[in-house]
Symmetry: C2
Subunit: 224 residues, 2 copies
């Protein structure tokens, strides 16, 4: 297994180098970058559709939607946001890496972007290990999943800055309890900012939009 | 990337060799082996709890519950089935491999087992590539996820023999349509056997139990 570990280390260090290049570029242009991660089906694309529809008019965004095979997510997002959506198909790989993001970023004009959102592959394990140069990872869980997810997939919750609990309209229809999810998440990472939302009913989304606009302002006022 | 591909090929071929050893051992003792795969939170553990409670009295089962970090699933299953549950914690790895299964199997007496169930790590991508010596992969999706999952994660659905659509009690509360999920799945793999169930209400479980008992009988009557 030594050979495997050696090659993995080399790949990760190469990824970290590329992520550093991306991070410096984003800092220079004061672009806030969020990396959205979750299980398949937690609602990343739905939240981004809502966010695009609500803030797209006054915030200049770019979206990179990663998928293992199809460009379904990118097509859904394009309907909500037009030409600012860029699809990356990993061709079977279980995560996005910094090289994929760098390639898309090289084609964009950074001076025109305030917010870069990356929608990672639906996978609570592997994307945790790959820095994409983002300011923060945003991890979604849905109330239709178990509230023990933070304990079972701790690496992802440890590396995230924000946890969004989606589908709160389904509370009561499963054993999921938001208090317990919150408690489990804070056990792993007590610095997490947490939002309870429902993309279906719109509950909680105003808080999310307000936080997002605030973060963009903070980034704009940061030193390059 | 050539080095990475070379090492991955070597690891996979080593895994396949070990899976072959497991498969021969299971065939010799006529043990049916199912490998359960899905996103986190689709309901693998719930379905196995129900299956243990319903069939545990008359079928001799062993369960291997894999998890990235905790042994939560194994503990839940132990409450339903007692000492036949074996926990494997991958320590961060995104899938079970044949070596992990082989180690557990070496400690069991194969003559006492009719059905071996493996609950894989919650991940729709990586476990697709790792043969564990099973007769079939059983892939679960939940109606709280999107019905385009088979298109977005085709490798897993292509390699599965059975698809279980869980949480049908939540139909109508999301955009999920079972017909569309079924259609998408059969596009990827038209040999799939499909079950619609709800672990919460019990709907559809009788069909699942009957199918499972039939498969065990078929395996028992197979040539070693």
């Amino acid at each position: 297994m030594t050979e495997k570990i050696r090659v993995e280390k080399k790949l990760l260090s190469e990824n970290n180098r590329r992520a550093g290049v991306i991070r410096r570029k984003l800092a220079e242009h004061k672009i806030l970058c969020l990396n959205f991660v979750s299980s398949p089906g937690s609602g990343k694309t739905s939240l981004l559709e809502k966010t695009l529809a609500s803030l797209g008019g006054r915030i200049s965004m770019a979206l990179i939607a990663g998928d293992v095979q199809t460009d379904n997510d990118a097509r859904r997002l394009s309907r909500a946001g037009g030409p600012i959506v860029h699809a990356v198909t990993t061709g079977g790989a279980c995560h996005l890496d910094a090289a994929m993001i760098g390639t898309v970023l090289d084609k964009l004009d950074p001076a025109t972007i305030d917010l870069l959102i990356i929608e990672n592959v639906g996978n609570l394990v592997c994307p945790a290990g790959f820095d994409l140069g983002e300011d923060m990872k945003v991890v979604l869980i849905s109330t239709a999943e178990g509230d023990d997810k933070p304990l079972k997939y701790p690496a992802m919750f440890r590396r995230a800055s924000v946890m969004v609990i989606n589908k709160i309209d389904l509370l009561g229809l499963s054993d999921f309890e938001t208090d317990r999810a919150r408690e489990n998440a804070l056990l792993i990472n007590r610095g997490l900012t947490i939002f309870d939302i429902s993309c279906r009913t719109g509950a909680g989304l105003e808080n999310w939009y307000a936080w997002l606009e605030e973060q963009i302002k903070l980034k704009k006022s940061s030193r390059p």
